[in-house]
Symmetry: C2
Subunit: 160 residues, 2 copies
Amino acid sequence: MNQQLELLLKATLDAWYSHVSRTDHLLSSLTDEQLQQEVAPGRNTGIYLLGHLTAVHDRLLPLLGFESQLYPHLDAFITSPDKAIKDIPPAADLRLHWKEVNDKLAKHFSGLTPDGWFQKHTAVSDEDFIKEPHRNRLSVLISRTHHLSYHLGQLIFLKK
Amino acid sequence: MNQQLELLLKATLDAWYSHVSRTDHLLSSLTDEQLQQEVAPGRNTGIYLLGHLTAVHDRLLPLLGFESQLYPHLDAFITSPDKAIKDIPPAADLRLHWKEVNDKLAKHFSGLTPDGWFQKHTAVSDEDFIKEPHRNRLSVLISRTHHLSYHLGQLIFLKK
């Protein structure tokens, strides 16, 4: 493979893994009680953001064509705002799901060839992909890494 | 150029431009008074984050080997925490500098060849770069895009 492509592909994946790892690190430093707090007055709670991030990452499994999502019941964390969710799972469950989903993704990522990263994601049709080859797995990964980074900047406010 | 490399390079640059644009959009929706507020109780003010982001982007000019930084006096927004800065420039000045710095970067970016993106940044020596070719301009850009995304997630709290 082209060395430049290899370098940029690695940098892109490294950004994903380093943000997941920074989030893991932050979460492990927060108590369940801290997670119940709003990150800022009137804003999302830590537990909502954890559910949201877990659900968004879980949905990468089908979106990237790997397998079905593991926890469809977490979709409420995408479709509903914080205070509208009736049954928020215990923090311990969400912490576990967060880890499981990211581990599962890492397993699939490690099995993907470079060419595989440039294949289309499942929300784009074969016809559209011919005209829009940028709608590949990597573009989804890049977008989700920024999504994580954005919310990580909010979750950090739970730290005293 | 390899089509995959071209796609990934474009996706990486697009992420930068889209985050700068999202930040512009947010800033234009905030009044100077709103920028004076803390994004969350006891946290950085909007004006500090604007100064911080402007300074970090300004320093990309020398770091990426383009030219000297435009506003060295803004370095205080990197080296000092919010409340330690004595002379915070007016919001109007910072808004202008933010725009100028990003426009200047965009001008340099547009003149860079794909190979140019894979050249070393100026904080790495020639010898180290041989062993560590990932320390190129692109890796800096990726890191700064995430940095912007992280703080954008905080600045959004200034919106009512």
